[in-house]
């Protein structure tokens, strides 16, 4: 399990720097590490979610040349929150996962903005929400729905496979 999580962490961050730019729609790219953080948190609990989010955010901060620690903090919090939600909700239901992903992306955006404001981040809150965070949240939701569907298909296939 640890290996698969580590691979997801590495793969997610690599995908964010290589694949995500190619997936841009109208200048908006998905936040793949955040998507993985939320989905992992919902399924594996707050500890895994928090750790994964922290590590993924830290790598993103370092790789992106931003304020190191900002995304580590926000994604760690989001992973923890997703894990807490997962303990209380029926997380295998896509109707929980996808809106949860959209909501947590919005929360992460607000948190990050608040944190970056401490470092004199200049962008206005409204513009950032309207043109960056909200579209990205919707994109994450869309991508999350596709991922959940793919996971469901894979799980169904594995359960019905005679080789299991």
């Amino acid at each position: 399990m640890r290996l698969s999580v580590a691979l997801m962490l590495l793969g997610g961050n690599l995908a964010q720097t290589s694949v995500a730019p190619a997936l841009r729609i109208g200048g908006v790219a998905p936040d793949i590490p955040l998507l993985l953080t939320v989905l992992l948190g919902l399924r594996r609990g707050p500890e895994v979610g928090c750790l994964f989010g922290f590590a993924a955010g830290l790598i993103q901060d370092a790789a992106g040349g931003g304020v190191v620690g900002a995304q580590a903090l926000t994604k760690g919090l989001v992973g923890f929150a997703a894990g807490l939600m997962g303990e209380r909700l029926w997380v295998s239901n896509p109707l929980v996962q996808v809106p949860g992903l959209v909501l947590l992306t919005l929360v992460e955006g607000v948190l990050r903005y608040g944190l970056l404001r401490l470092f004199h981040f200049p962008a206005p809150f409204g513009d950032l929400m309207l043109y960056v965070v909200l579209p990205q949240a919707l994109y994450n939701g869309f991508l999350g729905a596709a991922s959940v569907l793919a996971l469901t298909v894979v799980e169904f296939w594995r359960e019905s496979s005679p080789w299991r």
Binding site: L10, S18, F54, D61, A63, V68, G69, L73, L77
Partner: protein, 281 residues
């Protein structure tokens, strides 16, 4: 156990805050970035190469697909334009033919009726055209049928909305003719091979030469006088003491006739001056 997760959260928050606090504007606190960069950069380089290759292949495929579809659409366009050009050329030729026919109609001192060829019978037994004029148009049997070049034949059968025209090279066709140059009379008969032969031309006249124009003589009252029939292509004297024989090339190209004039009124005038023989355009 229950507080473990909160402990983890608080620890990670503290680490994050620590990282945030060591950040300096001059870049002195950039060691975490360096560390992550050292780990990730080789992987990113490799991945970027793979991505570039994949994108290159995809781009080449898209280009190929685009060129292919463009090629198909251009081929279709060429085909469409070719058909359009053919139509235009066809319409142009038809326009010229109709203009010549109309000019002839206006020149002739008798009533005529324009008709369109709707069928051709080209076998050895019968050589005929069917035109879209019939009883409804008051077409009479044996009406002469002409084109701007000269005589085509005569109506042998009138139907309700069509008429059958016997061509002058039909084996059963015979037309009273004369040499336009010498006015020597004879008969032009069709032959099974599709040729027209000039027969029974008296030797006593001015004779006949290759290239002579043969026109209708008006004898017998069937065809008006002076309609061009053909040109002599060969003179055949088979030892007959009385007559010349010759082969004619009809002035009208029966294979290409599409519009004709049916002469519906009688005339005693010589019509030859109204024709201007020349190659059909």
């Amino acid at each position: 156990m229950k507080h473990r997760k909160y402990a983890l959260l608080v620890s990670l928050l503290l680490v994050s805050l620590l990282l945030l606090s060591v950040r300096t504007p001059g870049g002195g606190g950039a060691w975490p970035g360096d560390l992550v960069g050292a780990l990730l950069t080789p992987l990113q380089v490799t991945l970027a190469k793979i991505q570039r290759s994949a994108l290159g292949v995809w781009s080449a495929y898209l280009d190929w697909k685009h060129v292919r579809s463009e090629n198909q659409s251009l081929r279709a366009e060429v085909e469409r334009l070719r058909i359009q050009a053919l139509r235009v050329e066809d319409a142009h030729k038809e326009n010229l033919r109709l203009r010549r026919l109309l000019a002839l109609r206006d020149r002739l001192p008798l009533s005529t009726l324009a008709g369109e060829v709707i069928a051709k019978e080209w076998g050895g037994w019968v050589r005929s055209l069917t035109v879209n004029r019939g009883r409804g148009d008051r077409v009479a049997r044996l009406s002469p049928v002409i084109v701007p070049e000269g005589l085509v034949g005569r109506v042998v059968e009138v139907r309700a909305q069509a008429a059958v025209v016997q061509l002058i090279n039909d084996p059963s066709s015979a037309v009273a003719v004369m040499v336009q140059r010498t006015r020597t009379a004879g008969v032009a008969e069709g032959e099974p091979g599709g040729t027209v032969r000039l027969k029974f031309m008296a030797r006593a006249g001015g004779g006949v030469q290759v290239g002579d124009l043969i026109v209708t003589s008006g004898l017998g009252g069937l065809f008006p006088k002076g309609l061009p029939v053909g040109r002599v292509t060969a003179v055949e004297d088979k030892g007959s003491a009385l007559f010349h024989f010759a082969l004619l090339a009809p002035v009208a190209d029966f294979a290409r006739v599409e519009e004709v004039l049916l002469l519906t009124g009688p005339t005693g005038a010589d019509l030859f001056p109204h024709f201007s023989p020349g190659p059909e355009t």
